[in-house]
């Protein structure tokens, strides 16, 4: 059983990371975070690049803290394939088994088996210079798994690939990681990687875990602003009230309670940007919740236009980052541009209020 328990604190300059994560044997966990959230530092500590100030890394019952990298049995797949340029694809894959004591023939057989797993048998005799980026990354996947690691670390494994080959490599990685049943920890900023590969999400922000849970659940019901943003949802924190949710400064957002929440409990209101209607002037006699915002940005979002809210003068801070998806025709009718003051409105039936503690 290759259960991983990490509890580390690393300080690098002014940045402090303090993270505790457990990955069950055979589980795939994705660590998500914006740039600067501490993902790379966390992975570096796991891979042995940085020495944690404090904490412990226990893999399959072994404490890894003082184990040299080559005895950790921790495989690493990073953005670039980094295949050894002087070796053929097959010898690259056979490198791990050879280095850990396999005989030449046994290592070659292992390599051929893994090359077949990643559909790269035909590439076995090629040098890295003769491989495309996607092909090289497939060989790198085979190479990382061929030495039978107890833990596989994935560091933004598709970030450097062309967009048109990424889906194929991503689903291939999912297939072989599942087939190998290897405990896997992935660091990524792309929610799609997490959706395809991960059983569970851990969301980092400012060097700390702000949220964790099964992938589908975190994306359906995010508790943190960052998780809501990657899930494509609007999130307002506050406390539950009879009408829905009351923010810290007293705005009431009408909403429904899909599950019982006691009044006054910490809660979050979640709604889709598509359910937000936008007006120049506050509509009269509307039962909707109305929020004044200053338009911060406009960006294309599929067939719609996403309007990103900023904080208006004297407005509450929580509106920052709220999104509204409207049709291009509606944007033209409104005649808005960034900096304009607008009203975001949403119907109570479209807002779901969940307890924040989970």
């Amino acid at each position: 059983m290759s259960r991983l328990e990490v509890d580390v604190a690393v300080t690098r300059g002014s940045f402090a990371l303090d993270v505790s994560v457990t990955v069950e044997s055979g589980e795939v966990v994705a660590v998500l975070g914006a740039n600067g959230a501490g993902k790379s530092t966390f992975l570096g500590a796991l891979a042995g690049l940085y020495r944690p100030d404090r904490g412990s890394i226990v893999l399959a019952g072994r404490a890894l803290d003082d184990v040299p990298v080559h005895r950790r049995r921790v495989g690493l797949l990073s953005q670039s394939a980094l295949l050894f340029p002087h070796l053929t694809a097959r010898d690259n894959v056979a490198f791990g088994p050879r280095s850990t004591g396999s005989r030449r023939r046994a290592a070659r057989e292992t390599a051929d088996r893994w090359l077949a797993m990643v559909d790269a048998t035909a590439l076995a005799d090629r040098r890295p210079a003769e491989l495309s980026g996607g092909q090289a990354q497939r060989i790198a996947i085979a190479r990382a798994l061929a030495c039978d690691p107890e833990l596989l670390l994935l560091d933004e494994p598709f970030a450097a690939l062309d967009v048109d080959v990424t889906p194929a490599v991503r689903s291939l990685l999912r297939r072989v990681v599942r087939a190998a049943g290897v405990t896997t920890l992935m660091v990524t900023h792309d929610v799609l990687d997490a959706v395809v590969l991960a059983d569970r999400l851990v969301v980092l922000d400012g060097g700390r875990v702000v949220e964790s849970g099964p992938t589908a659940e975190v994306l359906r019901r995010p508790r943190s602003a960052f998780a809501a943003r990657i899930a494509g949802l609007d999130l307002v924190p506050g406390r539950s009230c009879r009408e829905g949710l009351r923010t810290a400064e007293g705005t009431v957002i009408g909403g429904v309670h899909p599950e019982p929440v006691a009044d006054g409990e910490p809660a979050v209101a979640l709604f889709s940007p598509a359910s937000v209607a936008v007006f120049r002037d506050p509509p009269k006699g509307s039962p909707r919740t109305m929020v004044p915002v200053r338009l911060a940005a406009m960006e294309p979002h599929g067939e719609l236009v996403r309007l990103r809210a900023g904080v208006p003068d004297d407005g509450p801070g929580w509106v920052d980052g709220l999104a509204a998806d409207v049709t291009p025709a509606a944007v033209a009718d409104l005649g808005v541009e960034p900096g304009d003051e607008l009203w975001f409105t949403v119907k109570a039936a479209e807002v779901e209020v969940y307890p924040a503690g989970r």
Partner: protein
Amino acid sequence: MRTTVPRFLWVPAALAWLLVAIPVAGLVLRVDWPNFLGLVTTPSALAALRLSLETGLATMALCLLFGGPLAVVLARSSLPGLPFIRSVVLLPLVLPPVVGGLTLLFLFGRTGPVGGFLDREFGITIPFSTGAVMLAQTFVAMPFLVVSLEGALRTAGERYEAVAATLGASPATTLWRVTVPVVLPGLMSGSVLAFARALGEFGATITFAGSLEGTTRTLPLFIYLESESDLDGAVAMSLVLVVVAILVIVVSRTRDLR
């Protein structure tokens, strides 16, 4: 698109090239071609050529054996005072070779600290022996190997070595199966440069090893002595040295030209 070279650079550039090319061409014209074969095959000329090639190869081996590890330490370790260590290694590049020869003589001479000890305890005398030739040549040639190998190691970076470690390769396995193959071009050109520098070594050799035919009289020493008595012989052997030098350049630059 290529940028245009400013016109005023052409004249000094041509002069610089001619400064190197014309003397070599003049040497070819000056050679006594009818007697060339006879001049380069006299016993003392052959002995000098043979000694130069043998000590040159031995020097190359010594540079690899000791300079190679030094380059790895300079490129990969985080020793305190690394810049100081590196500048010491570069010293022979800027030091007049005669000075290098003198320092070696003081150290390894019979009255020197190391030479005296070797003489008393083991009866070994280094100065004015073939060993002294190799020592002098290694002194001046080592920086060439260390500099080009360290450069190759830095260019290659530590990424491949880090990957090898995650694949379970010990530091020693990583060195032989990853580091050395990856920097092989730098290792080869550094070795060839060290060999070439050893082949041309004069000052340190004559100071520390003297000029005994068959034992310490290498090709440059032979040519210098011949130029005072038999200029034709000196010119002929110079041409041999030029040909060897051109071969060395061709071998070490083939990769770049391709």
